[in-house]
Symmetry: C3
């Protein structure tokens, strides 16, 4: 037996002997059209998964860019670890709960992918499907690290990411995508790529975490709110571009098929909503603060992306612009509301971007859906209120589950292992105290930020 490389090469070099129908590929399935279509689907799903994987880098860059240099290595560690721990947890448990056969509330089969038979096309499809799903689970988990940045104990964060990837996220996933109760209502809940299932779950868990943790030292003092500046707006912007890039895989990959031409309009919708969100957040911040704010613009683009995620396969490009516009406006006001009214310290705006815009985008399906795009009409296009009601059901029930379960989990973790570093540790910075490290060893850090 020779490796595929060897075979390819031998064939490759024997050019004169080759005809098209014997091109250098071994283990070719029989050339029937359904096999090719399956290959096209597997390729599409895997490449989309790879794009979504890369969003981990985007989240890491946005989160570290928006926070302080003394905690940058800690945030990197959290982002690496939650993907690593999350991948193993989702392999062992999460996927089984989300997509296993079971009840209307959770599944319970195919733990450790043990039911996938590599000798069959179905087995291989299951692997491809798992690959796409694990990066979704990781997206939901990593959203939380931003809202809890700069004060959370690392060991506790590792435990959180385990619970999130194994239980909290997969249960919602089962409800909406795993044959659970949201998917079998008379008017089923529509969340095509996960405004609610992925982003709001992350956003609401982030809210719970930020509340249990309390604000960073110095954030709220004597009724005044201090803007704690991020340490690298270039990395934050890089992160936005990486996320936008990966989001094409997130949304268009959610067809789970490369043979579905709607991937084209999904990509267009994704792009237009992001653009509209960025422009609106920039304009609103300009009006409100006197200057176009870069943090708000980044979050506006992300808000537009989160908002279009639910309905990207159901609405027109023009509606996507509308959904993005409202997402971009919402972000600015939600950030202010959460900080000023709720007095919750969310260093990167994760609750506003993922929670609030996720809810908005999910509801928007009930308004903007058009039969020509996804088979369903929303209220603005002649449909009744039933879809909007279904969407609201999903939004509210997922909020209840995600917020409550995360809140309980963080409280329990706080009791058992403690959730927050000490005052001295926080002042010193988590890089040193948690990792004996400095993110930027060669550069002096401004005293004012310590």
């Amino acid at each position: 037996m020779r490796t595929y490389h060897g075979i390819a090469l031998a064939a490759c070099m024997a050019l004169a002997l080759l005809a098209v129908n014997s091109h250098p590929v071994s283990a070719q399935p029989a050339p029937d059209i359904k096999s090719v279509m399956l290959s096209v689907d597997v390729i599409w799903v895997l490449l989309a998964a790879v794009l979504v994987f890369f969003m981990q880098a985007g989240f890491a860059m946005v989160e570290t860019g928006f926070t302080r240099a003394k905690n940058a290595a800690n945030i990197m560690m959290k982002n690496i670890t939650d993907f690593a721990v999350g991948s193993l947890a989702y392999w062992a448990v999460g996927f089984a709960i989300m997509f296993g056969t079971g009840t209307l509330y959770f599944g319970a089969s195919n733990f450790f992918l043990m039911d996938a038979n590599p000798a069959t096309s179905e087995g291989m499809w299951t692997y491809a499907f798992w690959m796409f799903q694990v990066v979704f689970a990781a997206t939901s988990a990593t959203i939380v690290s931003g809202a809890m940045a700069e004060r959370t104990k690392f060991s506790t964060y590792v435990l959180y990411s385990l619970v999130m990837s194994a239980f909290i996220y997969p249960i919602v996933g089962h409800w909406a995508w795993g044959g659970g109760w949201l998917s079998v209502m008379d008017t089923p809940f529509i969340d095509f790529a996960g405004s609610t299932v992925v982003h709001s779950v992350g956003g609401w868990a982030a809210l719970a975490g930020a509340i249990v943790l309390g604000p960073r030292i110095g954030k709220f003092t004597n009724g005044r709110i201090k803007a704690i500046k991020g340490h690298s707006l270039t990395l934050a912007t890089l992160g936005l571009f990486i996320l936008w890039f990966g989001w094409f895989g997130f949304n268009a990959g959610s067809t789970l098929s490369g043979n579905t031409l709607s991937i084209a309009v999904i990509a267009v919708n994704t792009n237009l909503a992001a653009a509209a969100g960025a422009v609106m957040a920039m304009m609103v911040s300009w009006k409100k603060f006197g200057k176009p704010d870069i943090g708000m613009t980044i979050n506006g683009a992300l808000g537009g992306l989160v908002a279009i995620t639910a309905g990207c396969a159901n609405v027109s490009p023009a509606s996507s612009v509308a959904i993005g516009i409202i997402g971009g406006i919402l972000v600015v006001f939600a950030v202010e509301f959460i900080e000023k009214r709720l007095k919750v310290d969310d260093p990167v705006g994760a609750v506003s971007v993922h929670g609030v815009c996720g809810a908005w985008g999910t509801l928007a399906v009930g308004l903007f859906a058009q039969e020509a795009f996804g088979g369903v009409n929303g209220m603005l296009f002649g449909g009744g209120a039933a879809q909007l009601a279904a969407q609201a059901t999903g939004v509210v029930s997922v909020f209840a589950w995600a917020f409550a379960s995360a809140f309980v989990m963080f409280r329990v973790l706080d009791r058992i292992v403690g959730i927050r570093v000490s005052r001295e540790e926080e002042l010193k910075g988590l890089d040193i105290v948690e990792h004996q490290s400095e993110a930027y060893a060669d550069f002096p850090i401004s005293a004012s930020t310590n």
Copy 2:
């Protein structure tokens, strides 16, 4: 109705029931070979578009890396905004002008993508095609921000990006790719992926902008030229790698079909020209300045990429190396010429890389084209001078249009809203004065650069 996710899961879990011909994908088109080929084309074009989208991050990193820390957030904002504004403008107007039915000089139909019918394959193809075109438009627009860096008013830049994406770029695009006069000459102009249509348009508009703006304070003093150093050569290098990565989509995606095997040689040509450009610029800078210069090496690679863009489907790998070598040499001398002779301050070398190498690469098609690759022979391979003349016609006419229209636009914008920040603002840095922000709030900035 259940979401595709739900259907996939149900199917996925019912492994025993599945056969290959019922793999878990809903809304499958009828399995005929032409449908599969269309799917392959749509996938290819979308993935290529996603790669080209990511070039926005590459441009942002190169531009910010080559300029000063005090203006880094402003450059990020310009890069985010020109893509966001540009996407909306190209959706509303630009695409219609570029590809709409109309005259030999501009098109005028399908504004807001309103003619695309999502119920048809043609409609979906139009969406995919738009997605590919919008990222090209954005590439052209973003080139300008580098040459105008560190002194341009943000509000004016937003207006510029609107005009560029809606009018200046689409008109050239119509001439060459939209059925316009360059494409119907007796010997039609060949610019496969846009050395002229995309890069030179950006480069010449950048030249116009840099001239209207004038040089940065301190650049030219008493006949001496000051080298104003960039603040992050690591980010600039990251930007180069991102651009090179995305360029595979830019060039190979321009087949607009995944069923065209020439995508293979296009990728090879793209890579070899970039490599040759980098090596040559490194060697020339070594010879000229005594040391291999990293800025020149980066621009040499980019020059090679820009130069091969026009002819990547028409020339051999060996010719690609030659085209890249000349591109790499040209960049070094063009940067010097523009700075020392024209006394134009182009902080990142955008005019040299995109304008000059774009023109070179376009002319090179008339020299190096080979019938075996793209059906046409250039002068070096037995063709006559007609193709070279056609190429020159395109180069000159596009220069005239792009430079003149951009020059007028910048002059008008200067009159109405002002194009340049004040002296005090420029010295202080655009991050603070334009965005109340600091890109690197935790780090002290060296006084010498203020």
Copy 3:
């Protein structure tokens, strides 16, 4: 003749006239199923190659992040240059030696790709195949730059990268993938995507280079070992994510066919081994050093990726986790062993990650291979010791060749041009002395790191 863009547009605009079977793509091959399968293969291989190309950015970021600011531009230059020089060398010579017809020890045909005929499918396949192989060659070459960082003369490094890409790497490649002796043993050596062929070759050459060079000034003083800190753990982490992202192309692309469904399990295995490696290295470092170490965690993820590369198509997901776990543990101990016992200064841990984990992963195929996945059983799954012996043969012989040839090369280069900068130059930093540049001109660098 009009460009493809022009044709596409014309068709695109004439929506009413189009039917599916005339969608806007020119030069369509005849619609037979084998042609479509070939297109799918070419697309898959090219996109995988593009992902692997991007690993160059990942290596650059990890290497610069783990080393000092004063040498950051130099590392960038080495990474750009080794890819550029390597691409040209592999085009001219390396590919011919690796895949040319020849002896069991090296090939010798198709120099400069001169035998590829663009008019045939085979020719186009050869281009696609070359594109995939050149990025592998470049991966092997760039591994070395990390171990030799912060003290190697730039000119010498350029010569090294030429020899590596043209000779040292291709010869091993010929043995294993080019029809050479390792691929025709009674029990052929299995290294599916290159744990040994690519990574160990790079790792052992890195070891030779680090030995010939000697340690950085101050690394080993009076029996004490100084931890020289990296300057950007954010960029290092970004680099990890980029590498992980690209590795999906590295491993799954090595099927050389998109029509092979095993790409799905390969992607899953790749991800799980990386996750397991990261988690284990984090835990081991936590136990050993009292804190979870970010450098070790990054290298643990990379160790898992390197280790699974050989067997990714031959083992189960559960075995991938086991292989990754051992890889993650090995990295931590190997880094310590090489530093403390061998007294070799490898600034980024390249020898441990690529050499040691590459060897481990290659041997692991002889233990964990399962017939259901790749047709062969390892010792743990009922196979005999023959496969393990074949693997050991490959590991040992490749070590012997790569280490010895690189050692001789570096010695010769040291004699002729000198391999190391002077003491003064090293203290000053290579950016200034080698490139008249500063990576971070706007930021003061802490005195302690000079």
